[in-house]
């Protein structure tokens, strides 16, 4: 160990966590339970490969291909797997469609269940007590904090992910995108629009 501390004297809780996790990893490696190369690969996949761009491609295809959308709404796992560039979709994925009369919102009140294969790991707010507690009782208040105010007559449907089924919201296609390519449309599809806490970008916002 060096003589001088590697952290400032008032070092944070996070650096203590870093030390603790490094110790656990070396303990489990010494015990022969984990392979650090496998851990590296898991981290790399989550940092570089798995993210909301995957879900955005699925939504964009649904916007341009009505037959695909029907298949997606009937069996999202099978439909997503049929897209050659979406390889890692697990079982029990369910797509729910926003319409002018119904807006869908996804939550996991009990933990953090989230369709991470198509959206990436959930953001901190999704796993936080404020979101988990309020989404089911005060969804309009929650949406307002995301800057989203829906017409009062739009019904809100909240999906609590209490089993191994996972929900992907298919938002409505923005106006003014007639004739757009799938790639261009995918760039409008935000993560939050596929959770229900946001809407896709408008053409003006994407410009």
């Amino acid at each position: 160990m060096p003589d001088t501390p590697s952290h400032p004297p008032e070092h944070s809780e996070l650096s203590e966590m870093d030390v603790r996790v490094r110790a656990l990893e070396s303990l489990l490696t010494e015990k022969g339970y984990v392979d650090p190369a496998a851990l590296d690969r898991i981290v790399e996949a989550h940092e570089r490969e798995i993210g909301p761009h995957i879900g955005a491609r699925i939504v964009a295809r649904a916007w341009v291909d009505p037959a695909f959308k029907q298949r997606l709404l009937a069996d999202a796992t099978a439909a997503a797997r049929s897209l050659g560039h979406v390889s890692r979709v697990g079982s029990h994925l369910i797509a729910v469609e926003n319409t002018p009369s119904v807006h869908n919102l996804v939550v996991c009140t009990l933990c953090s269940c989230y369709p991470w294969e198509v959206l990436g790991l959930p953001p901190v707010w999704y796993k936080s007590a404020p979101y988990r507690s309020r989404a089911v009782i005060d969804p309009r208040g929650v949406l307002a904090e995301f800057g989203l105010t829906l017409p009062p007559e739009t019904a809100i449907r909240v999906w609590d992910s209490t089993a191994e089924t996972r929900f992907l919201v298919v938002p409505m296609r923005p106006a003014g995108t007639e004739g757009w390519s799938e790639d261009r449309l995918a760039a409008l599809v935000t993560r939050d629009s596929m959770v229900g806490t946001g809407l896709p970008k408008s053409p003006a916002e994407a410009a």
Binding site: V34, P130, R134
Partner: protein, 219 residues
Amino acid sequence: MTNSIHDMGGMHGFGRIAPEADEPVFHDRWEGRVLALQRAMGYTRLWTIDGGRASLEALPPLVYLASSYYERWLYGLENRLVQHALVDADELAAGRALRPGVRLNRKLTAADVENVLTRGDYARPAAAPPRFRVGERVRTRNINPPTHTRLPRYARGKLGTIEAVRGCHVFPDSAALGHGENPQWLYTVVFSGRELWGEEADPTLSVSIEAFEPYLVAA
């Protein structure tokens, strides 16, 4: 545990949502390592995903609330490792192995990682046809088991409608206890906001849960 702090639906007082612009996948290196350790140890099949959830729910409420998400994962993993006699408490304290490891049936290698990057399939063959049909009215049971369940408190004893039959799935209440998969039919059950929250609730609100057949009775 069931009636524990993790069951947050409908609670007040936690404040505003705080979305973070351009949030990184991990805020610190250790978070990614905890996720990876969790996945790698899950691959050993020494416990189930529900056993993992139960270990988080068993954290003392004040620890649960004061901890970040990945801190909870770490504490739950450490507790599970000790409970399954994979490591001893003195080794956790020392931060190194004091004894040889036990032999595992499965160990995750880098080449196998692709397999843990796709979620598993929890559907299982059914022993009997589903008891409820789409459109049927059901009431959730008022259960309060001291062990793991996926029926949230806010949706117990409530009148709802079967909206979809999702197949026959591993039953978390059994799997978390190590009592086997005990597959049960899984339904999407939808409730009106007023059924859940009373007459003053938003009349345009409906909320669904994914409910296993043992949680339901015909209404």
